[in-house]
């Protein structure tokens, strides 16, 4: 294994641990399998991973992308972190369509 790929693997492991740890603290009702699945889904998408790791470090989501005042920061104030984290890949690619789903949310999504 090259130094570059080892370093990449180390970074990924580190990101995974920080994100899992933050998610467990923010949403204690999630079971371990759900925590692992949510984190794996976010880490698989590089732009979403960047936002998610920043949230893991600071506890704050960015206010971009924003559609009519709706953005990751406003969403996480209202909805469970696991829902917002798994929405990040779609939110970054197609914010208008993704926010349409948050307008008609699953009853279990609210904090």
């Amino acid at each position: 294994m090259s130094d570059a790929s080892r370093s990449r693997d180390d970074r990924l492991r580190d990101d995974r641990q920080r994100l899992q740890s933050r998610l467990r603290a923010a949403q204690p009702a999630l079971d371990e399998e759900e925590v692992r699945r949510v984190v794996a889904r976010v880490l698989a998408d590089p732009p979403a991973r960047e936002l998610a790791v920043a949230w893991a470090d600071s506890g704050e989501m960015p206010a971009e992308p924003d559609v009519e005042g709706l953005n990751p920061a406003t969403l996480i104030a209202l909805f469970k972190p696991s829902v917002v984290l798994t929405a990040l890949p779609d939110l970054l690619r197609d914010p208008a369509r993704t926010l349409e789903t948050f307008r008609h949310p699953s009853p279990g999504w609210r904090r």
Binding site: G69, L70, T74, L78, V83, A87, F102, P105
Partner: protein, 178 residues
């Protein structure tokens, strides 16, 4: 196939719901217009009349919901403050579509075009109802019940109601030009 029927419901709604009148309307008049649109959409969906519930004080992001136990459709009252009625019509079309899905799954409402398309869609909905998740976005966004409700709202509002509105405007412009 059913999208055409939903477009027709949207086209039929337009003569009964004038967007210009909505813009001029008082809050009480808007509430009456929203309730009338709800009644018309339910009739177009072959649903029995049921009063629309308006939720006050909800966050603006929440546009509406359907309660499968009470079969009640709720729309966020804040949508009535918007001069563009698209959001309120979209919420009515979306949430009432969930009522249709439930009636078809329960065998209350006949399945249209069953002779041609079979019961496949309803079987898919029945399975999808068991898979509603509470903690993740993707599974819910792509759940067939949600996909169908979004498509129904698009057919009724964008491709029906607003298409008819544009047609009426063009007709008026052509008449004025004569």
């Amino acid at each position: 196939m059913e999208a055409k029927d939903l477009k027709l419901v949207g086209r039929g709604l337009r003569p009964r719901f004038d967007p210009a009148a909505w813009q001029r309307a008082s809050p009480a008049q808007r509430e009456r217009m929203a309730r009338a649109a709800h009644d018309y959409i339910r009739a177009g969906y072959d649903l029995r009349p049921q009063e629309l519930r308006l939720a006050r004080g909800q966050p603006e992001i929440l546009h509406g919901d359907f309660d499968p136990l009470t079969k009640e459709v709720t729309v966020n009252a804040s949508l009535l403050r918007r001069d563009d009625p698209t959001a309120v019509l979209n919420a009515l079309a979306h949430e009432n579509r969930h009522a249709v899905q439930q009636e078809r799954v329960e065998g209350v409402q006949p399945i249209p075009y069953e002779d041609r398309i079979g019961k496949g869609e309803v079987t898919t909905w029945t399975e999808a109802a068991r898979r509603y998740t509470r903690n993740e976005y993707m599974d819910y966004h792509y759940n067939p019940l949600e996909v169908d409700a979004r498509e129904a709202a698009t057919s009724l509002v964008d491709e029906g109601f607003w298409a008819e509105h544009r047609r009426l405007l063009e007709e008026r412009v052509a008449e004025a030009g004569r």
